[in-house]
């Protein structure tokens, strides 16, 4: 078996890794930023714990989207079932490309959503009755992570593997 024929599965696995790694990192940074803000508010007013916790968790979804795409990729290439498919370089690169949207958008939107969530936690700190509106601002960022998830999901599912 030549090195070239082995590279297909490597690219496919790299795609799964990109989806999980970058989207997960985006969520970790985002939840971390929002968590700092949440801790600041709870230090002064522990009664707002539940509200700020919900907002803090919003940037966590990108990591789940990355995990979903990574899981489907691993399932498609047979790594999960133990029956690894023969994947040529072209198909491997196609899978890598399909995983890029959720990887890159997951990273950037996770960070952006974390910042927005931290600012929204400031709203809850001053005006707890405006919790619903405060939730909406970080939720807007979510739209773009969902769009990236959709494309990655459709692309990974649509690639034919022999």
């Amino acid at each position: 078996m030549s090195i070239m024929s082995e590279l297909g599965i490597v690219y496919a696995l790299l795609g799964a890794a990109v989806a999980v790694l970058f989207a997960g990192a985006g969520s970790a940074i985002g939840v971390g930023i929002a968590g700092q803000a949440a801790a600041g508010v709870v230090t002064e007013d522990p009664s707002k714990f539940a509200k700020v916790l919900i907002i803090q968790l919003l940037p966590g979804t990108q990591g789940l989207y990355g995990l979903l795409v990574g899981f489907i990729t691993l399932s498609n290439i047979g790594i999960l079932g133990g029956d690894i498919a023969q994947i040529d370089v072209k198909t491997g690169l196609l899978i890598l490309a399909a995983c890029l949207p959720i990887g890159i958008v997951g990273l950037l939107s996770g960070i952006a959503q974390g910042k927005t969530a931290a600012a929204s936690i400031g709203i809850v700190a001053k005006k707890p009755d405006q919790f619903g509106k405060a939730m909406l601002f970080p939720a807007m960022v979510e739209t773009y992570a969902i769009l990236a998830l959709l494309i990655s999901f459709l692309a990974v599912s649509g690639i034919k593997i022999q």
Binding site: Q36, A38, G40, K115, A118, A125, K126
Partner: protein, 323 residues
């Protein structure tokens, strides 16, 4: 990413801003019939120590301490706040030099909530360990000490130290990475210069005195302000009318206390934009200034109530609140 260091601090400050006094709270305080009722009202708002005696001086002192305790607790880098503590630091230097040179000891003349508290400053000046002082302060201390010792001119000593304080504030503002600190420093120096020029004009001070006392800054030309002060009060107003302090000139026409109030209100106006910042040192700086402003306003009201001043006289000195 550096501003993200302030995420925790800003969120905590946002939660604390809820307990700042509003304009309505100040009205309520003003409508209290007696001084004791005012203290009771403030105590219910959480001022002073819980369960402590209702004493105005200790209550206000405790509130100042609480403010700095919060800032020290949340700020990732306290050096950013040096610009706000310089007035207290240089006041301690001035007080220590006078205590040592006059060999007199007075109580409660030092600030304790700054980098070099009173006892340490006194020790430094007594033993002439000026090199322990930060930056240009060592040179200032030496000059002020020698001047007071040789000339016994307390005012000249004050001018040397006050000018050095203004220079230090301006320098710290210029070197600050945050625009809001720069604005604060520049406005502080400019307003101090205007106050010095007005007082110098009223007491007929010379150009040499003013040149020594006025500190350069971006928004005011010291030379032009000095020339205006030498010409008269109208010239100061005319000069200010062409600067960012034009409204201050109108307040100056009204009364000195109206001008003081305008200065504080302007600073609060400048800081109000920080209510919408989430990731910089600005909200911390604004909180610090807002707290100082409300403590000053409460002090004015309490003093007025204690001395049975008419409500109008107190009201004209009341500052705008941050929230």
């Amino acid at each position: 990413m550096k501003d993200l260091e302030y995420t925790y601090a800003v969120a905590r400050i946002r939660a604390l801003e809820v307990s700042l006094l509003t304009g309505a709270s100040i009205e309520q305080l003003l409508s209290c019939a007696t001084f004791e009722q005012c203290l009771q009202f403030l105590s219910e708002k959480g001022w002073g120590d819980a369960g402590g005696e209702l004493d105005a001086v200790s209550m206000l002192k405790r509130e100042e301490e609480k403010t700095w305790e919060v800032i020290a607790d949340v700020a990732p880098d306290m050096n950013v706040f040096d610009v706000f503590s310089y007035p207290k630091l240089y006041h301690n230097l001035k007080a220590a030099i006078k205590e040592v040179c006059t060999e007199a000891r007075n109580e409660n003349i030092f600030y304790e909530d700054c980098k070099i508290p009173g006892s340490e400053m006194l020790h430094i000046v007594e033993n002439k360990e000026f090199d322990r002082l930060p930056g240009q302060m060592a040179q200032t201390a030496r000059e002020a000490y020698d001047t007071l010792l040789h000339t016994r001119d307390g005012q000249l000593c004050d001018v040397i130290v006050d000018r050095a304080a203004l220079d230090a504030i301006y320098e710290a503002g210029k070197n600050a990475a945050d625009q809001i600190i720069h604005q604060y420093a520049d406005a502080t120096v400019a307003i101090s210069d205007i106050k010095i020029a007005v007082r110098a004009q009223k007491t007929g001070k010379s150009a040499e005195f003013m040149r020594r006392a006025l500190a350069p800054c971006d928004s005011i030309s010291v030379e032009q302000l000095m020339k205006a002060a030498l010409s008269g009060m109208d010239a100061i107003r005319d000069y200010l009318a062409g600067t960012a302090y034009a409204e201050g000139a109108l307040a100056l026409e009204e009364s000195p206390s109206a001008f003081e109030r305008w200065c504080d209100n302007r600073m609060i106006e400048t800081m109000k934009s920080q209510k919408y910042e989430a990731f910089s040192v600005g909200p911390l700086a604004a909180y610090l200034i807002a707290r100082e402003n409300e403590i000053k306003t409460v002090r004015i009201i309490l003093t007025g109530k204690q001395n049975d001043f008419p409500e109008e006289a107190i009201r004209e000195r009341i500052r705008e609140m941050y929230v």
